[in-house]
């Protein structure tokens, strides 16, 4: 069997991302170790209670991985929202929306009924998209 272990987002600032995912979203730090020799910090977070999958928060790399132009372009693409999406599930979309709104999260859209459930979305500080869905029995009439 093949399973998802970790997914990865490019982030502009790892400290800012860490604060968001832990203090705002309420996730836990899975590992955070800096390897001085590589000038690299492995930072992985994940939801409490789901230990078999995590999200690696990688800094937008510079040379030698990416030249400065590519690095700047990648940072800008992430800021423009083209970095990708993480799809999350909850058993209470409205409750999560209210709770995260109270903690300062700006949502892209309010909880909205869809054929597959109720969902909403928000962004992390770098601009990565996070979709939050409460899955319900499929019903084309719901929307």
């Amino acid at each position: 069997m093949i399973k998802i272990a970790n997914a990865q987002f490019w982030v502009h600032d790892q400290d800012e991302a860490l604060a968001f995912y832990t203090q705002v979203l309420g996730w836990e730090v899975r590992s955070d170790v800096t390897m001085e020799a590589w000038n690299f910090r492995w930072l992985c977070v994940g939801p409490a209670g789901q230990n078999d999958a995590g999200l690696v928060l990688m800094p937008v790399p510079g040379p030698p991985m990416l030249d400065p132009d590519d690095s700047a372009q990648l940072a800008e693409l992430v800021a423009k929202g083209a970095g990708g999406t993480l799809f999350l599930e909850t058993d209470d979309c409205q409750g999560a929306y209210d709770e995260l709104s109270a903690r300062g999260v700006t949502f892209n859209d309010p909880p909205t009924a869809q054929a597959y459930g109720i969902d909403t979305s928000f962004r992390d500080p770098s601009g990565n998209n996070i979709r939050l869905t409460q899955v319900l029995e499929f019903d084309p009439a719901r929307r």
Partner: protein, 157 residues
Amino acid sequence: MTNPPLARHLLRARDLADSRYFEPLTVADLAAAANLSPSQFSRRFKRTFGEPPHQYLLTRRLERAAALLRTTDWTVTAICLAVGAHSVGSFTTSFRRVFGQTPRTYRAMHSPAESHLRVPRCVALAYGRPKNRTFREDSSVGEPYDRTGTRSARRTP
């Protein structure tokens, strides 16, 4: 509509301790989440979950602190603050009472976080590459990277 059982209110308080343990939560905050007075709450929490709420919250913080000692290279002070404790002294005392050793000793008893980090090979290859890639054989390859070359998969983790 029937009132939910008391345990449902108590569970709401325990969920709050589980999810926001790193904030300066008090028993009064937990009692408010359960919609009970603090004294009533503490008694009923203990009867339902087997330990008093302050102990539950402290245990949760210490459990997270132990995980952070094993999986990060943060300082003990940083870990103390990250789990919602505000005094390193009392944090260390509580930690020693539960784990039988100080946070520093606990960390030393475990292999360093870096040694069991599962950094994927592609990331290790990408970030482990030498920053200065010149062999001084040809000035054209003395650049830190070859912008004219084919973009190889090595560049992407």
